[in-house]
Structure formats: C-alpha cells, structure tokens
Symmetry: C2
Subunit: 180 residues, 2 copies
Amino acid sequence: MKKFKKKDYPVSDVRRFLEPGPTVLVSSAYKGEQNIMTMGWHTILEFTPSLIGCMITSANYSFGLIDKSGECVINIPTRDISKTVVSIGNCSGADTDKFKKFRLTAQQAEKVKAPLIEECFANFECRIHDRKLIKTYNFFIFEVVKAHVAPSPKYPETIHYRGNSIFMVSGKNIRLPSGK
Amino acid sequence: MKKFKKKDYPVSDVRRFLEPGPTVLVSSAYKGEQNIMTMGWHTILEFTPSLIGCMITSANYSFGLIDKSGECVINIPTRDISKTVVSIGNCSGADTDKFKKFRLTAQQAEKVKAPLIEECFANFECRIHDRKLIKTYNFFIFEVVKAHVAPSPKYPETIHYRGNSIFMVSGKNIRLPSGK
C-alpha cells in the first residue's frame, strides 16, 4: 500500500477535505491500546477554532478509547484502499489489532497520542472540544489541533458512502464563483 | 429548469442522499416570509428517529426563520442547477425574494410550513428536535418528519463543496460489501 508524505496544513482549511463528505478512518489510542474505525457521519462546525462534529456509536470499540483519552486522529483514505476501509468497518477492535491485520502503519502524531495512519493522504489530529452531546447523541465535537496533508495529488479520489454497500467515488471538479 | 416528480421515501433512509456530503438548499418560512439558503455543513446523526445535524450561521437571514418557526426543508439539488445553488449562497433573503429571483417553485409541504423546492430531486421536511447547541455553535438538530425523493434517476449528480469556489461533482458508484 502506498504511503503518503505529508506537509503541515492550516487547521482552519480542513473543510476542503471534509466538507465534500468522504468516508474517513478514525484512529485512537488509550493506555497502550490502539484502534481504527470507519466513519461517515461528520460535519465541519467552525473554521477557527477548527471544529468538527462526529457521530461515533458507543457500540464501537473506539468509542471508549476516544472518550477516555479525549483524542483521536481523523484520516482520509483514497479509493485505492477502499476495500480495507470497508473491512475495518466490518470488524471490531475488541478482538482485532486492526493496524496489524490490515498492514497499516501507525505513525506518531505531534500533539495527540492517537496514531496517524501513514497510508492515508491526510491526517487531522483532534482533541475533544465539547462533551455536551456525547451522552445523548454519541456526538463528539473535536478541535483539529494539527493537520498533515500530502501536497500531491491535489484532489485524491475519495469514497463517499451511500448505504447498502454502495460508495460514490469523487468525480471531477468544477469552478463556480463562490463567496467563501 | 427541470421539475422532479417525487414519491414518498422512508425517513430512516435519507442517509443515502446526505451521507455522501452534497451541498444542499435549505428552505424556510415564517409569518408569510420565505427564504432559501445554501448549506454544506451537515451530518446524519441517527436513523430512527431520523436526525440530521446542521450548522446554520446566525448571520444568515434563514437562521431567524428556522429558529422561530422550528422548521425547514432540506432540498438536494443536482448539478444542472449548480450555478443557481451558488448564486443563492451569494445573496441574502434580507433584501431578495430568492424563489422569485431564481425562478424556483415553492411547493406546499405536508408536515411543515416551509416550502419544498420542486426543482430539487429530494426534499426532506424537518422539525427542530434539539435546540441545545444552537446558541453555542449555531448547530441545529432536526428530525426528518417526511421525505420525498424522485425515483429516477437513481443516482443524480450532486455537487460537493471543497471551498475556494471549487465543487466536486459526484462520480461513479462502486459496490463494496458492507455491514450497514
């Protein structure tokens, strides 16, 4: 699997990669354990501070690691590893070392203990910013405290889940004069 | 502009259209006024009840109409009307009748007073479900109380905002065996 060489990226600009709605991989760590989960329910909430809201079901093994450590990394995979992304979502960290099983490389992050996934083209280091909706909706509000993005390709192919085992692959780009 | 003939759609399945991350149009009404805004910051939160979280800046004229009426309609536009979608985002309902200016058809909804936009292929009637994060984050949690979707085409081309005036157009679909 291809590893991406990344550069520092402004945290206030992560919307460029998340707003289009890709399926992402969330990595987490707590007391020597680490895990990865597949996630599709997320939204940008603010540019500065750089806030992201994510629905992470408490049934996920990652829920506990993220809740207790207060941290995670949001990694954006490309279409090349889409089968791996789906397989990660179909097994549990309770009985599987997913980094080992799927031969993914856990790279040390800068500001959090959760690992970056080197085979993803972007990694956003996150800390929990607001816990208010975790109990009611399993909804975490994270602040992106550090962002790493591969400078090339500029627009990697991402996958976007439609449900029922169907993913939309990101298509071409069009320019339309817009305010923001 | 093409009008879409729609059928009733299960509210628990609206994720099929929203989870891929399209830019949507939010229509609202309050005391005889109505408006449309362009929105890209949304996420599915739950299947049943059918919950959607949306960030709607208080600077938007629509914010007041939605906040006071407690309702809105989330409409999904196709690429055909992408220029209109962007133009709607670049002007304000404070001084513009957007239905008139952009020649869109306001159709009566079934369960809310906010109008459906007939030129969009899907319309989701929403009521505010939880106001807890409106003040802090301008984050509305809506329940979809009625959904209308055009049965054809099955996968209309949608637009997905990358920031900086660039939109990604939804590409082809791939099937990957997935749990949900």
